[in-house]
Symmetry: C2
Subunit: 402 residues, 2 copies
């Protein structure tokens, strides 16, 4: 198992998690995550075949991320579907802490969010938490975090979200709407609660201590803007669960709102040995802004589940389950299940050697990234259609909400 | 000495202050305050005759509040005057937590602030902390605190501030400017620091824990809006000192700003026995909205320093020093020092009886309040000239700042 280190200022000091070789908090994901254990630890529900059938009936199409259980856990997703079936639309909420360039791992929940938007005709509220990244020390100043937010936004828009139903805001630009909601939440959260949920310490700065109220506020933003209670579904990495479990879901009934529902994703691995894709290890992460030769180099230099020699691999087969290359096919680069099974079998039987497998993936990733970059370039002209900044009430007006 | 009780959610648990019979924190002032002791405890400086002479030389006029040492303590006032003499103008910053109607005790620092504005041609930044009052539980909801802020604002404007140099804002209306400044401050304040300065506890809500950063932010707002370092002088009750001492003055150098200077006032007493005027004891407070008969009744029912019988009073004289009626003349209702001395001497010699003294004061207070109410009514039409709300950058534009 990967070595576990505590790297952020504010991090859950959860000894039991450390002992088991991984840490998952809203700020740190380290080690080889045991996703089944997380379901038990966090007390979430597994996405069952039955739930998937129900989604298929409603949408006509099951996204590979669901079929492959990349999105695998939830809270109250069944309740969201009940409401939907009863004619009550839900909103989607997700976001990003902007401190670095976007990599493929970041795209995974956003791609899934777009699927949900399309299939359920759902408004998306997307929060860039520039304040969080600054307060955590991930950026040296607040202005940098904001600049990065604008850059990251291009990646989001490039995925094809519907501007009529997608509202993007940067925290510090939208504070006159967000802060009053956050203050109402904050009044119900004691330091004790925040400490037990997030592992805050006496040395944590007071901005970070308040911040969870701002992140929770977006759950109720659709209700505030619509002037009525709107169900909210949050598609995000399971590391974000403490926000909703410990804060938003606790406070919602006290403020007269629905508890936000969630659907939890796994983390796309990096190209190294174990662990999720991380911008702090740039050689094992594919950034959306990487040029083709860099993409190729990174993929070809990847750790694999291969054997020490060709002879050995022909004899024993390679280990697809621990191989990031295989996982890349699984996550993003082989949508066809039959083809994916073929790759898996050829790998584990020793038919497919790592060099060929990496070369094939490198081409696909290069093509994917190149196409993304084109769309990302075009997004620069679309940004105004999405962003809520500087103009109070702009969101409300644009979305035609009452 | 008055009984000391802890009444607010978040209050300094300063046992030594309790032991000595009074508590002075930003949220609670109880008991008979020993102002000299506060100078020692807080580590502030006394306003000396020399400093007063210097102000007189610069302004030509010494306000009775200075002469009478109602404003009696400071931090770096001498430095502010150095800068002023060197041609560098300072800004004034004060504010109010809106949870109740304004009484005469609230007007004291505002009247003094107007004197400073007039004499030093200083911009005033006035912050209404609706969020603080809501987070403290002083109002049941945020909207009430805001409504009260708008009402309180009329009392402020009624005092005759110059709209060209006075910028009033309500926290939740101005958060897109305030929050980024507060976040930069908050990053430098740990929970430990906030706890030791304000006595926060584990049960304190996370909104209150963050709030001091917002109150400190206004110290640097003039610098942010002017785009250069602007000295800031805060005229306020000495109870507000912890904000500046523990937070703003500590953080200022880290953010490249001047430390805010302060000038500290005493509290106008209530009409009861001991303690400052407080809206929580409405019968001993004169509200600016009280009708004439109520004003009269309150003054005539006041506690006094009088003796048990007329005979005894004629023989021993009354005790002006413990008498709120005398203090009312001292604070607001007898500007002439010779006249004031006459009242004091007539009182303590037994010539002036309490009934007559109260009747004379009642007339003056009635007249004062009636005039204030006229100006307060007119203020309703002026409010737009002062308030910064809903429009980002409005403050900057209106003030002609670069």
């Amino acid at each position: 198992m990967g070595k576990v280190e505590v790297v952020a200022d504010a991090v859950i000091s959860n000894q039991s998690e450390k002992d088991q070789g991984f840490v998952v908090t809203p700020w740190v994901v380290k080690g080889n995550v045991d996703y089944d254990k997380l379901i038990d630890q966090f007390g979430t529900s597994r996405i069952t075949d039955e739930l998937i059938s129900r989604i298929k009936k409603l949408t006509g199409e099951i996204h590979p991320f669901l079929r492959r259980r990349i999105f695998y856990s939830h809270r109250d997703l069944d309740w969201i579907l009940d409401r939907y079936e009863a004619g009550e639309k839900f909103c989607l909420y997700t976001g990003r802490g902007p401190s670095e360039n976007v990599h493929l791992g970041h795209l995974v929940p956003w791609i899934f969010t777009k699927y949900l938007q399309d299939k359920f005709d759902a408004e998306l509220y997307f929060e860039f938490t520039d304040d969080e990244k600054f307060l955590l020390g991930s950026t040296s100043d607040l202005e940098s975090a904001k600049r990065i937010a604008y850059s990251n936004m291009l990646d989001l828009i490039a995925l094809g979200f519907d501007p009529k139903k997608t509202f993007i805001f940067i925290d510090t630009d939208y504070m006159e709407t967000m802060y009053p909601i956050a203050a109402k939440i904050a009044k119900h959260i004691t330091f004790s609660t925040a400490r037990s949920v997030f592992g805050f310490e006496n040395s944590t700065n007071v901005g970070m201590i308040f911040f969870p109220a701002l992140e929770a506020a977006t759950c109720f933003l659709p209700s505030v803007l619509h002037g009525k209670n709107v169900p909210c579904l949050i598609p995000a990495g399971i590391d974000q669960d403490p926000y909703w479990r410990g804060i938003a879901r606790e406070v919602a009934p006290k403020l007269g709102y629905y508890k936000p529902a969630q659907i939890h994703g796994k983390f796309m691995p990096g190209l190294g040995q174990g662990g999720k894709m991380s911008a702090s290890q740039p050689e094992t992460a594919i950034f959306t802004t990487d040029p083709p030769d860099v993409v190729k180099r990174k993929v070809l230099s990847s750790f694999t589940g291969g054997r020490a020699t060709v002879e050995e691999q022909r004899r024993l087969g390679a280990q697809a389950d621990i191989c990031p290359i295989y996982h890349y096919y699984y996550y993003l680069f082989e949508e066809n299940d039959t083809e994916l099974a073929r790759i898996y079998n050829d790998c584990t039987s020793g038919t497919l050697l790592c060099g060929d497998c990496k070369a094939m993936l490198a081409e696909r990733v290069q093509e994917y990234v190149a196409k993304h970059q084109e769309k990302r370039e075009k997004a620069k002209e679309l940004i105004e259609d999405f962003i809520v900044a500087d103009i109070r009430g702009g969101l409300k007006k644009r979305s035609g909400l009452s």
